[in-house]
Amino acid sequence: MSYLPILPVLLPAGLGALILLLLGGRPGAQRLVSLAGTAAILGLGLQLLAMAGQGQILVYRLGNWAAPFGIVLMLDRLAALMLVLTGVLALAVLAYAIGSGWDRRGAHFHTLWQFQLMGLNGAFLTGDAFNLFVFFEVLLIVSYGLMIHGAGTMRLRAGVQYIAYNLAGSTLFLAALGVLYAATGTLNMADMAARVAQMPPGQGGLVGLGAVLLMLVFALKAALVPMHFWLPATYANAPGPVAALFAIMTKVGVYGIIRSATLIFPDMALLPALLLPAAGLTLIVGQTGLLGARSLGRMAAFAALGSVGTLMLAVAQLTPQALAAGLYYLLHSTLAAGALFLAADMILTRRAEAWLRPGAALPGGLAVLYFLLAIAVTGMPPLSGFLGKLLILQASWQSPAMVWIWVAVLASSLLAICGMARAGSVLFWASRGAPLPVARGPAPALARAGIGLLVAALIALTVFAAPALRLAEATAAQLMTPSAYVAAVLQGQEGVK
């Protein structure tokens, strides 16, 4: 049994404790260890993707207990893909946070950062429903700390709202797990899938209730309408680098939906029927908010909301082709939203206020960056957002809701283009005031390298779209045959106790 699948959880946990206990008063060493650790996590993710890319499903049994009783970590293509995405985003954003000096504006940034990565990696790897709940709580409780990093009245207030909303979500999660346990008698996701599949028709009422409750929880995390109310204030008031990392947080919810809908409830027609309208509404609400936002932070937050809507329009169809398109768009939208939040933070350090109205003149380089990211976020050619949206439109050609999906995607794209163009023209054309003295961070080059890494990743995703799409298609095909996943966990267990 290979021990590699548990390292993405253990490494940040160890580093977080190390930074807290041994490197207390040494910011330089903290930064170095945190950056090196995040890079190592990315390396691990790439190694795991290479292992899972062959198509086999790796199972790590904690304590070597037999599967339905012990907790398992599962590594398939989807989990590995999410690990790599988290690694790339975290490395780039951490470089920006260190370079811009954000990490020194409050206590324990690097410890919280490592624990956040631990929670995210654990949530992507675990194959046990209750363990998924525990990792959700780990990543949430850390995100509360990161969200109010640097303090400030408005940030604290938004933080209270965020925590209250997510606490209600955690309560729902427990209720869903209780219902599913009462109906199936297991918490191992593969075992649960096997038992749901064997359930005689007419007995599925409790399972259906559990499934809908579970989807509600994941929809809350993914910020689908009508559970999106926490997102705009949270993302707009979180520190720039934290908001950029939070771009992956909504994707944790999307991951939960993909995983449970394909593995545990593959034949439940109720789920697409509920999720598709919610996704369409999310898209419309997000892009309308983007057009109507008065401040830069809220604009970026609504852009993130809109991208979740587009993504879920693909995922909610639960067909192989749409799922592959959705996974490609997931990679793109996470990187693009992260880069947009970093760019917004760069713009804010050169302006006296966050409101979208004429102010101090901004350098041309920033305008170019904003223009690039606006193209990426709204899904215009030539960047990967365009390819992603095209794939989604193509994949929904056969869908009975095809007209609605096309109208929602195309009309909302127009709204988004108008919104980004309006903000850009106010920020860069109409702002003719004297430039403000720039409060440079300790290492501006490192900050630029961080945001450069995200832009480079977006360009790479465009140039190497064919291999990326092949990987997404292989991932979707693997997700659509859950029997392999179930067999990997439950059959041929070595060293069963």
Binding site: R157, T171, L177, G178, L187, A233
Partner: protein
């Protein structure tokens, strides 16, 4: 017993839902606590209700389900920690913001000179 447990869970959930829909942080914290009590009881009941059934094999003819008890323990620890964090954050927001309202003020959305 089923009726007692079910109505207790229902009452706690109803009170909790009412309280978390209030717009003051103190009421919301109380509501969260009530909701987590309700969920703990619910999780406990998900292993079926049984009297005098020890959750250990070999101690009786019909052993109880040990797993929900472990789940409830975990859930209690987590909700306890989360409540502590919420109280600290709500206190911080109250002390720096001047009121304990849970919704965002208008100043978060609209520039200062356009507010009435």
């Amino acid at each position: 017993m089923e009726f007692l447990i079910a109505s207790a869970i229902g009452m706690l959930t109803a009170c909790g839902c009412y309280l978390i829909l209030r717009s003051r942080s103190f009421a919301v914290v109380l509501g969260m606590t009530l909701l987590s009590y309700a969920i703990n009881l619910f999780l406990f009941a998900s292993g079926r209700l049984a009297v005098a059934a020890p959750p250990v094999l070999g101690q009786g003819s019909a052993p109880g389900d040990p797993l929900p008890q472990a789940l409830v323990l975990t859930a209690i620890v987590i909700s306890f920690g989360m409540t502590a964090v919420t109280v600290m954050m709500a206190l911080g927001a109250h002390l720096s913001g001047g009121d304990d309202r849970i919704d965002m003020p208008r100043a978060d959305r609209v520039p200062p000179e356009e507010r009435e």
